[in-house]
Amino acid sequence: MNPLEGVVLALQQVWAHKLKSAFTLLGVVIGVTFLIAVITIVEGMNRYVEEDVAGTLAGVNTFTVVRRRRVVTGNEQDDARRRAARNPQLTLRDVEIVQGAVPEAWLVSFYEDRGLPDVRRGDERRTNVRLVGGSPDYAELQGWTVETGRGLSELDERRGLRNAVIGSDIIESLFPNESPIDKELRLGAHRFRVVGTFERQGGMLGGFRDAAILIPFSAYRQRFSRSKNEVDAISVKTRTEDEFVEAQQAVEAALRSDRRLRPGEENTFHFETSDDILGTWRTISRILMTAVPGLVLISLVVGGIVIMNIMLLSVAGRIKEIGVRKAIGARRRDILLQFLAEASTLSLVGAGVGILLGIGLATLVERISPLPAAVPAWAIFVALTIGLTVGIASGIYPAWKAAVQDPIVALRSE
C-alpha cells in the first residue's frame, strides 16, 4: 500500500487538532528551532569573523609584535600572564631590529594608540574617538583604504606635521554636510588639519576604524605620548602565506638575540596574529557547538517520547480500523508503513515549524544585534533528517503494535 495515505492522514489530523498537535510537536519544534537558530548564528559569526574581522583587524598575512597578549582567549595560564606582565615595553630600537630582520619589500609599521575624551571642531564635539599615531605604512598595512584626500606620507612623518586622516564616524559627527578636507580639528589642546578620509568599514568591529583618527607617529609622540621612544605594536605584512611563517621566525630570532634570551627561555614579547583574535571566537563557538547538541538531543528525546505516546493512543483508538484493513488484505508491513508514515509526518511537520521558527529567531538576532545570520542549506537538511529520524524512532513501536494485531481480534474491538 502507499505510505502516502499515512502522510495525508497525518496532515489531516495535525490540521484537525491544531492545539493537540502543537503540544505533541513541542519537543521537536523546540529542539529544531534551537538547533537552527544556533547553527545559523554560529555560521553567521564564523563567516563574519573569518572574512571581516580577520581580514581587517589584523590584516591578511599580517602579524604584530606586542609586549603581551592583548586579546584574552581564556586558555591562557595565570602564571604565563604574570610572566608576560614583566615583558619590557617595545621601543623604536625594536622597530629597527624588526625592519632589519625582514626584506625591505615587506611592509613594517609601528604605532601607538589611545582613546581620546573628545575631538572638537569649533563648538561641535564628538566623544569616543580612537587616536592612532602610526608610521607612514600603517594605513596600507591595516588595509584601511583612503577614500578622499590623501593618506599620511613620509614627509608628514619626518616633519611631525599635524595632519590627520579620519574615519567615517568622525565625518558623520563633525562634517555631516561638507567635505572635511583641509578643515581644522582640535585634538585635546592641539590643532590638526584633515588631509584625508578612510572608507567606511561598518559592522560590529568597524567601530575601530570608523571612529579612528590617524596622525603621524612623530606628531603623536611629541604631543600625546609620555615616553619618547616606546611603541605599542610593530606590524609586519608579507606578500604570501609561506613568507608569513618565515618572517615570523626571522623576527623572533632577531628579537631573541637582541634581548639575549637563552634557548629554552620564553619570548619576552608576543606575536599577535589573526588567529589570536579568531581564537576567542573559536572558543565561544566550540562551547556553543558542543553544548547545543546536548540540549537539542534532550528536547528531541522528550519530543520523541511524546510522539510515541500520541501514536500509541492513536493506534489504540484505531484498532477497529486496523482490523478492517487487515480483513481486506493489508499485510503487516502495510500497517507498519502507514503508522510510520504518520509518525514521520508528524515529526517532520514539527521539524518544519522548528526550521521556520529557528530562521525567524536568527533573523531577529540579526536585527537587534550586529551579528549576521546565515542559514546554511546543510542545517535545514540536518533538521529534516533529525525530524525523520525522530519520527521513525518514535513511531516504530506503536506501528509495530498496530501491525501485529490479530485481524479477528482487532475487528471485534470497539
Binding site: 500500500m1 502507499n2 495515505e5 477497529k320 480500523e321 482490523g323 478492517v324 484493513r325 487487515k326 480483513a327 481486506i328 488484505g329 493489508a330 499485510r331 503487516r332 508491513r333 502495510d334 490479530d406 485481524p407 479477528i408 475487528l411
Partner: protein, 238 residues
C-alpha cells in the same frame, strides 16, 4: 448435481477458545465442500459457531485443528502475508456492522482492497466505480459512511468485497442491522451477484432469506446438523 469444481473444502475443522480454566468448543469438527457458483446459507441457533466458521473460511482466524483447502491451496500453516494476500484476492467479506472506514468516502472505502493489491490509482478508481455501480450506488461515491443509510452502507461494503473479483463472497448476517424493506433490497443484490456467477456463503437467521439459497448448512453446537440441498428451484448462471 453438477460436478462443479470444489473451491472450499474443510475437514475436521475445530476451533476452541480457552476461557480461563474452561475451554469453549466453538467448532467441533466441521466438514464442508463448496463448489463454484454455489449459493449457501449457513443457519443455526445463536452460539452454534456460524461466525466462527465464516471467520475461518475467510482466513480472518486460524483453526485449532483440521484442514482447510481454498482453490486447491492448503490454508492451514500459511504465513501471515500469504493469508493477507488470500483475504485480499480470494475472499470478499461482508459484515453485519458494515465495517467501513468512517473518515473515507464510499469510493475510497471500495478502493482500499485495490490499494493493498498494488493497483495503480487510475485503475483503482475505475474499478471501484464499476463495483459501486454494480451495487447501485453510483450517485453516492463521494459520501462518507455517516452520510449514507444503513442499506447504502451495506452496498458500499458489498462493492468493497467484490472489487477484487474474489473467488468467494462471505456474508455474516449482512441484513442483521437493516429493516425488512432494506433487507429485501440487499438480498436482491446478492441474488443478482449469484446469477452473474458469484459463489456466496451467507449466514442468516431468516428462513425466507435462506429460501433463496441453493443449499442450507445448519450448525448446532459447533457441528453440522444437516446439509439441505434444494437445487430444484434455483437456476444459476456461469
Amino acid at each position: 448435481m453438477d460436478k462443479k469444481e470444489v473451491i472450499i473444502q474443510t475437514r475436521g475443522l475445530r476451533k476452541e477458545y480457552e476461557m480461563g480454566s474452561e475451554t469453549v468448543y466453538a467448532l467441533r469438527g466441521v466438514d464442508v465442500d463448496i463448489r463454484r457458483n454455489e449459493y449457501i446459507a449457513v443457519m443455526g441457533p445463536s452460539g452454534s459457531g456460524k461466525s466462527t466458521l465464516m471467520n475461518l473460511v475467510g482466513c480472518l482466524d486460524t483453526p485449532t485443528a483440521g484442514e482447510y483447502t481454498l482453490n486447491g491451496v492448503a490454508v492451514q500453516g500459511l504465513e501471515d502475508d500469504e493469508l493477507a494476500r488470500i483475504r485480499n484476492r480470494e475472499i470478499g467479506f461482508v459484515f453485519q456492522t458494515f465495517n467501513l472506514l468512517p473518515r473515507a468516502t464510499a469510493l475510497h472505502n471500495v478502493e482500499l482492497p485495490l490499494i493493498y493489491a498494488g493497483i495503480s490509482a487510475k485503475e483503482r478508481s475505475r474499478r471501484a466505480e464499476v463495483a459501486l455501480e454494480r451495487t447501485g450506488l453510483a450517485d453516492r461515491m463521494d459520501h462518507k459512511p455517516n452520510e449514507l443509510s444503513g442499506g447504502q452502507r451495506q452496498r458500499v461494503a458489498i462493492a468493497r468485497a467484490l472489487v477484487n473479483e474474489p473467488s468467494i463472497l462471505l456474508a455474516d448476517e449482512p441484513t442483521g442491522n437493516l429493516d425488512s424493506v432494506t433487507s429485501a433490497d440487499i438480498m436482491h443484490v446478492f441474488d443478482e451477484l449469484h446469477q452473474e456467477g458469484q459463489t456466496i456463503i451467507m449466514v442468516t437467521h431468516e428462513p425466507d432469506i435462506s429460501e433463496r439459497a441453493q443449499r442450507v448448512i445448519t450448525l448446532r453446537d459447533g457441528m453440522i446438523e444437516s446439509h439441505d440441498a434444494k437445487l430444484e428451484h434455483r437456476p444459476f448462471g456461469v
